[in-house]
């Protein structure tokens, strides 16, 4: 029994470690990509160092030897840069990025058991920084430092490693946690003692009278002077085990001299301390953000579920009010309206808890770009915009794969090879932009390259040869461009190593539409291509119109409805068997009778209303319904979760009376009448 609990605990700690690894890795990636040779390393290199260091620390505790070994190497290299022995240049940044990628791989290897490819080349690159002779690594070497000829005898310096003892001054303040976890400061002191000669002084000025003594507080501080031939890191390692339970400051001599004299200076050199103690607890500083707590996503999801119940319940109250004939404007109605408002606000706030900046996905693209550009031999510069745009976690998770594919595609198929670009008068490096922003209640993600653009003729030919379209059909430019989303389409003759992995743009479109998104293309030959993805803010709630047909209720999302008006039977006209048209503004659009949404045995009902619905491609149809009931917010409930996907309906919702209503899939409806898909691309 006991054993079981322990392994369970360990497992949960492991999970936390991996989570933290993920955070450190994305921090690493972020800092690295903003690291610039021109501006010099500055504080950034410290942040990077700390990230690697803390991964190493955790890996050591879990005995992940590969991770320890590699991060140690990486750390050692970074130390050289931090200490100013090496300067950061483009080559170094490239090496760091590669090393970060390897680190990510190794973490994934331990977490998910994924394959670990050999990274000898990166290890070699890193080794070079460590083993390079001083003169080379320190570049440029200033002339003044070179030894001059002395009386005609020239000599070159030889580096001899003497065991030199360094003097370290430490101030140790244990926190109560140290004692609570059963540790003792004496253990640490005895470890320190092994590192060299040591002088210890204890400060107990703060110690109160026995009456005021609080057992839950610590009062003493130790000042230690130690002469050791080991470096600072090896001393720091001693404290690593205690984590936050002990505060350790490596002090400069002047501070200590007065400290040891028993005077605590008021104007303590705060920056200095921060820098050093920062290395001890890497995740705390370096970013000035609001304090955060770590919450299990399941709890947040549960909260969202409960909130959905609340929204449904609100619907129930509304319908009860109607039944009991409570007039709008009555006191009860006003109170209920206020409650509605509160629920709405609560909902938005809970949804915001689930939101994450899209940064996490965008940063992964940095790696994809590097890999792809290496394999394809095309130089690419990635521009990121709107990384802080927040996206619901459930959407974010499903965004990574399609984006990865599209980024690979843009580089592999979109961008021309360097010599072609130069010949066309473009910059040699391909420009790839990823943007995210909000527009009219949706999240827009754009992937833009400045490559050759889509070649309509080539696409057309390809589609004909693949049997996707018929030769005889005349198609507009936009229609042709949208053919790339057809299953079984791939423009590149030789399936390349990169994007041609059997996943086409049709899969991209499918996965985007699964999360309620739409994708459109804007392309100009020789100028480039822009893919635009439009996503809903959340998957949990949909603003919709509820209508009744054949005594059954259905919901259609408001985003797909253009207009609703009374249906005039006389205006409809027959086009062919079962196909009817209806005039709308200055065009004629096809009619769908919503009774087709229900089961077979039809009853005679009166069609009263007409909804004009439209998809992202601006195709419209007229949906004839018996009655439009209301407009409201509906909680989206998955049908697939317990059953399977139903064609024609995206999901279901629960109404105020506890019944279930199906939410109409606008795209499916429109495509079912248009017969031919992809009629017009959205502009």
């Amino acid at each position: 029994m006991n054993n079981y609990v322990e392994t369970d605990d360990l497992e949960s700690i492991r999970l936390i470690f991996f989570e933290e690894c993920g955070e450190q890795l994305s921090l690493l990636e972020e800092e690295l990509s903003s690291l610039d040779a021109a501006t010099g390393p500055g504080e950034k290199i410290n942040t990077i160092f700390r990230a690697v260091h803390s991964i190493k620390g955790g890996a050591g505790a879990f005995g992940m030897e590969k991770l320890v070994r590699f991060s140690h190497l990486f750390e050692a290299v970074l130390e050289k840069f931090r200490g100013g022995e090496c300067t950061v240049d483009q080559a170094a940044i490239a090496t760091f990025l590669k090393a970060a990628d390897v680190l990510t791989d190794i973490v994934a290897f331990y977490r998910d058991g994924t394959d670990l490819s050999v990274q000898d080349d990166v290890v070699e690159e890193l080794d070079r920084y460590i083993n390079v002779p001083e003169a080379l690594s320190k570049s440029p070497v200033s002339v003044e430092e070179l030894p001059e000829d002395i009386e005609g005898i020239s000599f070159t310096p030889i580096k001899i490693d003497l065991p030199k003892k360094e003097k370290f001054l430490l101030e140790i303040t244990p926190r109560i946690g140290l004692y609570e976890s059963g540790d003792d400061i004496r253990n640490i002191l005895s470890f320190l003692e092994k590192k060299g000669e040591m002088e210890v002084e204890i400060h107990c000025d703060d110690l109160p009278n026995i009456e005021e003594f609080n057992v839950n507080k610590t009062y003493s501080t130790w000042n230690i002077v130690i002469f050791s031939n080991e470096n600072k890191n090896s001393l720091e390692e001693i404290f690593e085990w205690s984590g936050d339970n002990i505060k350790v400051e490596f002090l400069e001599e002047k501070h200590v001299s007065c400290k040891l004299a028993g005077k605590i200076p008021n104007n303590f050199d705060k920056n200095k301390v921060d820098e050093f103690s920062g290395a001890q607890k890497p995740s705390r500083d370096s970013r000035k953000e609001n304090p955060t707590i770590r919450v299990d996503t399941k709890r947040v999801d549960k909260l969202v579920d409960l909130l959905s119940e609340l929204v449904i319940n609100q619907g129930a109250i509304r319908s009860q009010m109607k039944v009991n004939d409570i007039r709008p404007g009555s006191a009860l109605d006003i109170v209920i309206s206020e409650l509605d408002q509160l629920t709405h606000e609560l909902q938005e706030n809970v949804m915001a808890m689930r939101a994450h900046p899209i940064k996490t996905v965008f940063q992964r693209m940095g790696r994809i770009v590097r890999e792809t550009s290496r394999v394809s031999g095309k130089d690419v510069i990635l521009h990121l915009e709107g990384e802080d745009t927040e996206v619901d976690r459930s959407i974010l998770e499903k965004l990574s794969d399609p984006l990865t594919h599209m980024v690979r595609n843009a580089i592999d198929h979109g961008l021309e090879s360097t010599h072609l670009r130069v010949a066309a008068g473009k910059p040699a490096e391909g420009q790839l932009s990823l943007r995210a922003f909000h527009r009219s209640g949706r999240i827009i993600i754009e992937i833009e390259d400045d490559g050759a653009g889509l070649n309509c003729e080539k696409i057309h030919q390809k589609a004909i040869s693949k049997g996707i379209i018929n030769n005889s059909i005349l198609m507009e430019k936009e229609e042709i461009q949208n053919l790339i989303f057809e299953p079984g389409f791939s423009t590149v003759e030789n399936v390349s190593d990169l994007s041609g992995r059997g996943v086409g743009m049709d899969v991209v479109r499918k996965s985007i539409s699964e999360i309620g998104g739409r994708i459109s293309i804007l392309t100009e030959e020789d100028k480039g291509t822009l893919f635009s993805i439009s996503l809903p803010l959340t998957l949990a709630v949909v603003e919709g119109l509820i209508f009744r047909t054949q005594k059954q209720n259905f919901i259609v999302p408001v985003s797909g409805v253009v207009e609703a008006f009374l249906f005039q039977e006389s205006k409809k006209f027959k086009i062919s068997e079962d196909v009817w048209g209806y005039p709308y503004r200055d065009e004629y659009i096809p009619i769908i009778n919503s009774e087709n949404l229900t089961e077979k045995n039809k009853i005679e009902t009166k069609n009263n209303s007409c909804l004009i619905i439209e998809n992202e491609k601006k195709e419209k149809i007229a949906l004839i319904v018996d009655e439009i009931i209301d407009q409201s917010r509906f909680v989206v409930k998955s049908i697939e979760k317990n059953y399977k996907k139903i064609s024609g309906f995206s999901s279901a919702t629960i109404l105020g009376d506890g019944g279930v209503a199906l939410i109409v899939d606008v795209d499916f409806l429109i495509e079912s009448v248009s017969g031919k898909k992809n009629v017009r691309a959205a502009k």
Partner: protein, 140 residues
């Protein structure tokens, strides 16, 4: 001793391992799903979760429309929760492994694929349902 829930359909008793049963509820009208098999009544709301409801009578005998549906048995199977409408839920019984017999070794068509065995207790003959297979039969 193993426990099973016993319900009646077409005067035949069926048993479900009690561990798989989440709850028993009064029958409610489901929202029909277009172009689904005839034994699918539709989808229902069980405390905020949308689950499918299968007409067990129709699943056993597609052609007839026998009996009044009184109860729904809600079953958890792995990740999915599903429900079956039945004529009547009679009781929960403990049985001895000895009273559990194998199905006669004859091909009985559709039905035998989701029957696990037969319980014979005090003259009653109860078919034990193989839930994973039954669900596979209904939803795939």
């Amino acid at each position: 001793m193993p426990k099973v829930l016993v319900f009646t359909t077409y005067d035949q008793e069926y048993a479900i391992d009690i561990g798989a049963v989440r709850e028993i509820r009064n029958w409610v009208q489901a929202t029909p799903i277009p172009s689904s098999p005839s034994f699918m009544e539709g989808i229902i709301n069980i405390r905020g979760t949308v689950i499918p409801l299968v007409d067990f009578c129709k699943k056993i005998n597609p052609s007839s429309d026998n009996g009044e549906k009184k109860a729904m048995v809600i079953i958890e199977n792995g990740e999915k929760t599903v429900s079956f409408s039945v004529n009547n839920v009679s009781d929960i019984i403990d049985y001895d492994e000895n009273s559990r017999k194998n199905l006669p070794d004859v091909s009985q068509g559709d039905v035998s694929t989701f029957l696990e065995g037969i319980l014979s207790i005090e003259g009653r003959v109860i078919f034990i349902l193989d839930i994973p297979n039954l669900i596979k039969e209904c939803f795939h």
